[in-house]
Amino acid sequence: MSVLPYAVAAWLFGIGLYGIATSRNFIHLVGCLGVCQSATYVLLLGLGYRWGSIAPIFYDHPPGTPAVDPVMQALVLTDIVVGATLTALLLVLTVQAYKRGGSLDPEKLRPMRAGDKPGQSRGSSQVSDGGRQAS
């Protein structure tokens, strides 16, 4: 395999990092993280590929036929599932940050203070009033 898969993987990782660094929206940022992760798919499958080989399924081929590396494909399969889980978790955290902080912009997000917001979300007005007077 030529140098092209490595170059494409490096490009995808670099532009994903650029998107993460310059993003002004948390949902857009999670999408950029997905691009970073697709760089690992391309890198792993590019490592395992061999020219002129078959897929590692020997149902209609005799055993011993040159095939691409099935270990890399198992790794990529695990990577895809973990990536989907990570995307779901980060989107839930984004929605929670929007509910608490009031914005999706990382620049406008307020820092969390101890005992301020959780008392409010618990619904008891006395606790939140006490917290406000104390602060």
Partner: protein, 83 residues
Amino acid sequence: MSVILPLLFLLTAISGSAVVLVRDPIRQVFAIAINGLVLTILFDALQAPDVALSELAVGSAAVPLLFLVALMAVRTQPPGAEP
């Protein structure tokens, strides 16, 4: 065969760049789905049909739906409201 694989690698780089450079999250959902489709075709060309199947299910159906759900939750929920 030796032409279509570099072409698919370049297409992957272009569609990944499109996901990053589309700044509106609602339009980015479509870019993510197209990126998943391009990755599916690339994996199939790289002799990985099982990975291509799971990428088709996850990358171009499940993850864009997750993004749509998150966008809907953000849009319908006013900031600071009780969950």
